[in-house]
Symmetry: C2
Amino acid sequence: MKKYQVVTSVSVLAIVAMLLLTVSVRENKADQARIAATPEIKAFEVRSSEWGRHYPRQYSTYMQTKKSDAFIDVLGDLEPGLVINWAGYAFSKDYSRPRGHYYMLEDQAVTLRTGAPDPAKGIPSPQPTACWTCKGPDVSRLIARDGELEFFTGTWDKYGSEVVNPVGCADCHDPKTMKLVTTRPHLKRAVDASGILKYDEATQQDMRSLVCAQCHIEYYFKPTEWTDKNGEKKVAKVNTLPWDKGLSVEAIEQYYDEIGFTDYTHKLSKAPILKAQHPDYELFRTSIHFKRGLACADCHMPYVREGGVKYTSHQILGNPLDSIGNTCLNCHHDSEEGFRAIIKRKLERKYELAKQATVSIATAHLEAQKAWELGASEEEMRPALMDIRKGQWRWDFALASHGSFFHAPEEMLRIVADATHYGQEARIKLRAILAKYGAGDYVAPDFSTKEKAQALAGIDLLKESREKTRFLNTVRKEWFNEAKKKGVFDPQGEQDMIPFISAWPVPAEDGSTEKAPMETKAAGEQTPDRQATEKL
Amino acid sequence: MKKYQVVTSVSVLAIVAMLLLTVSVRENKADQARIAATPEIKAFEVRSSEWGRHYPRQYSTYMQTKKSDAFIDVLGDLEPGLVINWAGYAFSKDYSRPRGHYYMLEDQAVTLRTGAPDPAKGIPSPQPTACWTCKGPDVSRLIARDGELEFFTGTWDKYGSEVVNPVGCADCHDPKTMKLVTTRPHLKRAVDASGILKYDEATQQDMRSLVCAQCHIEYYFKPTEWTDKNGEKKVAKVNTLPWDKGLSVEAIEQYYDEIGFTDYTHKLSKAPILKAQHPDYELFRTSIHFKRGLACADCHMPYVREGGVKYTSHQILGNPLDSIGNTCLNCHHDSEEGFRAIIKRKLERKYELAKQATVSIATAHLEAQKAWELGASEEEMRPALMDIRKGQWRWDFALASHGSFFHAPEEMLRIVADATHYGQEARIKLRAILAKYGAGDYVAPDFSTKEKAQALAGIDLLKESREKTRFLNTVRKEWFNEAKKKGVFDPQGEQDMIPFISAWPVPAEDGSTEKAPMETKAAGEQTPDRQATEKL
């Protein structure tokens, strides 16, 4: 093609583009006018279907989070070594890949991590109320009604019939203006304390990440003494972000070390362990995608076009590769096949280093257990246990983060490599101790399957599953009925939930023939359940 | 700006661009016509100044490689742990950052690694002739004259008065057509054997990397028996690329393992070590830059513009960041400051993991040495020594590669993390052995300075430096005079070399007052000098 032809073509294309833009702007303007004319939605409207009457496109895409419905038992199908590293903590019982937002309440009810509470019999959940923090718009309603400290006091079962609608419109939008807002008090406090930005000056693009960062972050439940209106002394476990010293894996570790925080003492090694939640936002901030100005929503809630209308899809994509043409390939100009081949190789690197770290740390736990059995002293063990703590913190920080590898591949490889390094440092120290006690050639037992690993961790999966089944068929059904009476239940959610609840098998009298949730692969999601507050 | 204004502006800009292009094309065409009219340059014209008479822009930029003249003593200024890892190998004596291509012959003469040969006294260099392979266009001339097997037979000093012009025009260009060509037989053989591409079908863009890959690769000197024309049996050490099984760090290791190759037995640990050369091309091929179609020349020899003429700069940039506006920022649309900040953080990650690997492997060597001293058996030591071999191979592969971190950051982090993992695996095994022999609490000696590390490695730096100084003032000067008589010396090179050679101090009778090259920081470059062929 000659050069003048290029010029002519460019001009023609530009004119066509201008015309198309004009049409599009007109349609978008019509849409905006409709939004402006919409009657205000009432404060604390927890029923997303109510919002959906006015915003049908956003609502119907939001409801598509239902499509991400695959149960993947991470402990069984992907990495049994996790069971060893989490021995003594609820995650060692049950940990599945997160499913769509739509399922978050059901998955939290089903997971073995929340236990089988029965208030009538005085059996509480092993988890605090704080585990509800991210589950849905009822939380903001309850904090407004009961106060933040009351909300964070007690065990998970306390709000079983109150938090009944999964994360929805009210969690991220102002009902009057539709503007993006954050509704959880912990985030604003942490943003301001960390100095990463001034919360009140956050841009729209900042908000397109911050609404996600209400939950997709590292946090802990800070024990906080308070006195209620009746003068009763209570301890709340307040959801708190450990960002005062920075957002890096090392800065957060320093925060925890300085306040002497530990999530749990490891059942096998007795190491004081920090459990990472899902520091997605923290890792994302280290990435080139963040530095180039992207927000979470750019890839996880891409713009879609229906006729002349362009809007943000609310089918929050756990994996933007599932809509690759709408997300990655917008900027990465490659064929889908070519792009996927690059990603595949990147992920192989992650799996390789992650596996090393998991195995190194799990082996260290088992070797430490052996050293204790042989009579090693606390003084002898302490340096190795502190290495295990450091290694496991890094390992968990990198792996617990959803999609950390996409968010920040180099940072994740660094952190996982550091994890292995500390795990191996622990093992070098433990090898000397084992040798001292006559077991220099000790070989840690096999933990290559979930069954073997859970046996080593002392977990009775069948017992846990049976109790859970009973809970789902009794207490959980009662919560459901109570919620209906309270009228806070989204009718759409109710409609969807009835078949779900009916699906649970009725336990046999002797428990022998019942089908336990874990056996049917009905596993839980990635809810935090940290509560231990033991000192280092 | 209104949309119709945008369209108008685009059109005007396109027209202006077209006019500019026309002017530029005209000037470039004039340039091309001049090239076409240039008399042919003779075959094996080793004098780059002769080529430069016809291609002044390329030649004058080529001569600017002289600007990269900083001596950086890596062992002393950056990482003394290298001395430990290379103990028993020439690199432990002396290793400096590579300088500009212009200096490659001088740097090879100066480095302690080539020793102080004195043919008149029957003292050979410790290095084979193969060390000349990449040093300049005289090599192709000698291979054509003497035959490849004769060229690769004997010690380095054999061609001291023959290889006298540093890498230049004839190494990469056909003298008749100016087309890019490779002139070293090892590359074509390896490319065809590896199947990465068909050499005879290489595109111009392939060639813009392959000419560099003649030297910027991993290789070894393959012992090859042959009989000369007089019936004398000889063994050549032929420069060979270990690519038959692939170009990854693991595939090349497999190649070496299968032929039982070892570069040297480690002086302290007795581990059978593989020394990586500089697998730049291999690592580059794993990178996103390569996958996006870039060639070495795109960043290291960027296009420059002088008036209306655009040409490839032949000032080969060791670090494209030194000309960031002409290289990185062409594609990475960022401010220089912003871009450098991103690079800085990326490099910090590399340094962190590289340091871990260096220290882990060096410590393993020293711990193994202790275990031997205490009476450990070969059978006991073998598993740990094989871990050291694997770890050090990965460590060296990643770090010896020039700029590996820019070429392939994720691949490099993976490899270095693997290196640490193997180093630590060795240390776990060694700890059990040490404990068995009563030294479970053994702490390896300090190697935090070059002096301490070289003392541990048994290097007499002053003696080596004095011998080198004598060599430079006697044998090396004689080589220079012989080369002048042979008439192959580029007059421009000669002019530059006289002050260089005169700068060497004359040694005192007792050697006590002379200034040794190492003391004046006149260190060497990154020439391979592998020669050990011991079996595993």
